[in-house]
């Protein structure tokens, strides 16, 4: 393979990885933007999303087969279910804590994350679960670069979901309310916006997106595992910080940048694939030190 081929192949890999990161990073950034909570459980919502997708897909596949039609229906159903789970978590764990000190709410979020992954761990006995799909390995060939149809469909579906989200945030009333709440909650309440409902809706949308990413990861990698949310949670957070936490286009951009950096990083002479994660966390730390507002974030002045 020539250098150009390697470059293109890594570009394709990086974009796929990056689109997963973006989807999860969106949930982080939306929740953070609206209630300034770092939702530690978000990576685990992604993981639970994968498992809910697995269950619905296994229930549906006798009727719809193991192809794309079944995946699509299963994904929509599990997005709704996991979105509701996100709202439930918010109601049980975060609503009572909103006025508590920051440390308490962070630990609560951590506890939610532990409940989720330990629950899935004890249900699956910590085993990898195979995703019941059969999509074949056909694809397009550009010289020596090979891209499967699965990869193409996954990347375009994430793009579609992000476009829908963009439309939702910028064009609908609910999106406008979300943006308004991010700026000033009290003023919104005075203007007659139902703040509670909108916050719940934010959790719904964020969790549904994470779930979609979880199902797609299952389809793409072929198997899922209870611990898969931990690493992607951390990386998606990195992505959200790269783009500027609180900024929605930032999350998408950050995810893609991190995906590309990671896939090209493995090609560097000193950074083998075993150092991949160290590389990603290193980026996070360096970035937080020098530019904590990220690429598209706004500088925030903390009032006393």
């Amino acid at each position: 393979m020539s250098t150009l081929d390697i470059f293109l192949q890594q570009l394709a890999n990086g974009l796929i990885l990056g689109s997963f990161y973006s989807m999860v990073a969106l949930g982080y950034t939306m929740v953070y933007g609206i209630i300034k909570l770092l939702n530690f459980a978000h990576g685990d919502i992604y993981m639970v999303g994968g498992f809910v997708g697995l269950i619905t897909l296994s229930l549906l596949s006798p009727f719809l087969g193991a192809g794309w039609a079944g995946i699509l229906v299963a994904m929509i159903i599990s997005m709704i279910l996991v979105g509701l789970l996100g709202v439930l978590i918010q109601r049980i764990a975060y609503v009572p804590m909103l006025s508590a000190p920051r440390l308490s709410i962070l630990i609560t979020a951590l506890a939610v994350s532990m409940v989720l992954y330990n629950f899935v761990m004890s249900m699956t006995s910590g085993e990898y679960k195979a995703f019941p799909v059969d999509l074949g390995y056909d694809g397009l060939e550009f010289g020596n670069v090979f891209i499967t149809y699965t990869q193409i469909i996954l990347v375009s579906s994430t793009a579609t979901l992000m476009l829908i989200l963009h439309f939702f945030i910028s064009k609908t009333m609910y999106g406008k309310a979300m943006r308004a709440i991010a700026i000033d909650q009290d003023a919104c309440r005075l203007m007659g916006i139902n703040v509670k409902t909108i916050i719940a809706m934010t959790f719904f949308v964020g969790s549904a997106l994470a779930c979609a990413a979880g199902v797609m990861a299952g389809v793409y990698y072929g198997s899922i595992h209870f611990f898969m949310g931990f690493l992607i949670g951390l990386k998606a957070f990195t992505a959200a910080v790269i783009g500027g936490i609180g900024s929605i286009p930032g999350a998408v951009l950050g995810g893609l940048i991190l995906g590309l950096l990671e896939s090209f990083g493995t090609q560097l002479p000193f950074i083998g694939s075993e150092w991949k994660d160290v590389f990603a966390f290193g980026i996070l730390i360096i970035l937080l030190l020098f530019k904590p507002t990220g690429l598209l974030g706004k500088t925030e002045i903390e009032r006393m």
Binding site: A93, L110, F119, L289
Partner: protein
Amino acid sequence: MLAKNKIKLNNIYALLVVVVLAMPLVANNYVLNTFSDVWFYVIVCLGLNIVVGYAGLLDLGYAAFFAVGAYTTAILTTTFGMNFWLTIPFAMLFAALSGVIIGGPTLRLRSDYLAIVTLGFGEIVRLTARNLDITGGSSGIYGIERPFFFGIEMNGNIHFYYAFLLLAFLAIFVSYRLQYSRLGRAWQYVREDEDAAEAMGINRVRVKLSAYVIGAVFGGVAGSFFAVKMTAISPETFMFTQSILILLGVVIGGMGKIPGVVCGAFILVLFPEIFRFVGDMRLLAFAVIMLIIMLKRPQGLWPSRLG
């Protein structure tokens, strides 16, 4: 009335000390081993308590300090043939150094960023230990020799029981001394209101950094004893879940309260031993307990003031 209560409480503590000191006379190996673990977790929980409880900094990578201590001792005794007791100052030094490395640049960050950075740092330490040759890669380091204490080889459970017990007493003592020291009061001030503390002339970065370093030293010492007790260490010992387990001990008992944290360490070790049938559900049960505690009783099981 208050003085009377205090005397009563002191009597209870004295009784407890006698019980734990005399315990090896009647206990079997299993009990001794379990209680060595209890004392071990008392030490690390108290160390983390300095960071989380006193200074109010959420550290999700505490196992990294403990890993640094354990690996320092393991490498120095196996590769360089150093005496175990001489490695302890090095373990402390390197743990303190890693405290500075993690703390120094990140302490200007807000608490939620700090949490995620420490989480990332904990993972970096573990992954580095897994990828380097000197740390034995993913299989870790084994065949660490047991130390001699005045000519007696520390090879029984009873030796480590007393070693960890002594260290735990030391940790409790140091924590008490720190709590009401000038530095301890500064930590609590920074925890309650950083800006006000700074306005009062407290150098918040230095104060926070010292919390990190002292917490790290606790972890480092515990790690070096852990290495010789186990005689083998591997990167998987220092996973994220280990950090969380230690944090749990601190939170369940009550952040910032020494008796509470000691209690938390007891619960951490004894709960799964007593409820063996819980098995794999242990961490799930813990997680649910932690969630309920945070929601219903955020001050922990042992509050600082009764009533």
